[in-house]
């Protein structure tokens, strides 16, 4: 008889993917996890739409554009336990540094696509619109667990996942570190 595995998803919003790298840095411990979890959606899994009935979703990155805003709401609906994964998801981090500018969208686009460009200067058009501010996840949806770090260490990620798989609430006091 096949044992039912815990359905886990990982999502990459506005972040550098460093948290996902740290996830992969669990090395051989991932193999131990693989006996208990099934990764049903992830940047490293070839599935286009976020599936239904996901048990745990790790969301990396801040919410910075309209598509991510839409995506995060769907993720919340279809996920039992949503984890803000890394500093960008928890605080906004570097992604939200643009929030300090008055007209942040225009200033950021101007800087990236006009001022610092020598050839073919133009704003991108075929991509989702940037929101006025970049937001940490909990400003948009309910977050069940916060896993800070830039990135969270592989050991910490592994600890959190193992505790959750064993049915306990991980205690991060004194274990995590912003930045």
């Amino acid at each position: 008889m096949q044992v039912l595995k815990v359905r886990v998803a990982t999502v990459w919003l506005s972040g550098c993917s460093g948290c996902h790298m740290s996830f992969l840095d669990q090395d051989e411990k991932i193999i131990e996890l693989a006996d208990k979890i099934e990764v049903v959606y992830s940047p490293i899994v070839d599935i286009k739409d976020f599936p239904e009935d996901v048990d745990v979703t790790l969301v990396e990155g801040a919410v910075a554009n309209e598509e991510q805003l839409h995506q995060l709401k769907i993720i919340r609906e279809r996920t039992k336990l949503l984890i803000a994964f890394g500093d960008c998801a928890v605080t906004g981090n570097v992604v939200a540094l643009r929030n300090m500018f008055q007209d942040s969208v225009k200033e950021v686009l101007e800087r990236a696509y006009v001022e610092n460009v020598d050839y073919n200067r133009q704003y991108p058009t075929q991509v989702p619109k940037l929101l006025k501010n970049a937001h940490p996840l909990h400003e948009i949806v309910k977050v069940d667990f916060y896993l800070p770090g830039c990135p969270p260490s592989a050991e910490l990620i592994n600890y959190v996942l193992r505790e959750l798989l064993d049915g306990r609430t991980p205690s991060l006091e004194g274990r995590f570190k912003f930045g």
Partner: protein, 234 residues
Amino acid sequence: MAARAVKLTIDGKEVFAKPSDTILKAATENGIYIPTLCYLEGLSPYGGCRLCIVEVKGTPKPVTACTTPVSEGMEVITNSPLILKYRRQILELILAERIHVCSVCVANGSCELQSLASNLGVDHTNVQRNWRPLPLDSSHERLVIDHNRCIMCTRCIRVCDEIEGVHVLDIKGRGENSMIVIDLDEKWSDSYSCTSCGKCAAVCPVGAIYIKGKALAETKKKELPEFIVGRRRR
């Protein structure tokens, strides 16, 4: 003749202290930990960060351990659920007030705010963060002050005044508009009174004042309290 010792209880433990001692000193000397941020051994206590709040039986509101003297029969509780909750809220407010982004901060890894957040379990802020930018003054040849990272603990002001004895630094404004100023709100490079000693950078608990091109681990000396207390005695 030495003054009579005062007997009090801290977290149910009976301790003795000098009448001139603060609750914080009595607790620390008896191995009871109370978190602090603006307090620094050897500088006058300020009571500004409020992290060292404790409950004293018979007092309706929490008091700051770093400024409250001990008294006979006092019953102090340092870690009730209410106190822990308040401390977390205080840290959340400090984190939300200015732009604290650890990953791009010079103090990352040697920051007292960062380690306190971890130790008190402040893994996010429920208060929306304030992204209002503040100026940065890097005009001085070796010192930089980034007001975005300042938590207004006033350690730099006190060390400059009480140890170096020049009082270059002070505060202007009130509430969220308060800011550290150099002399009469001048550019640091224009300051005639600054001796460029760098004690402000050495005592800064975060990355607000730092020395150009120097690793924070070098700037923030581990033996700092001994150094300050030593200077004070001289």
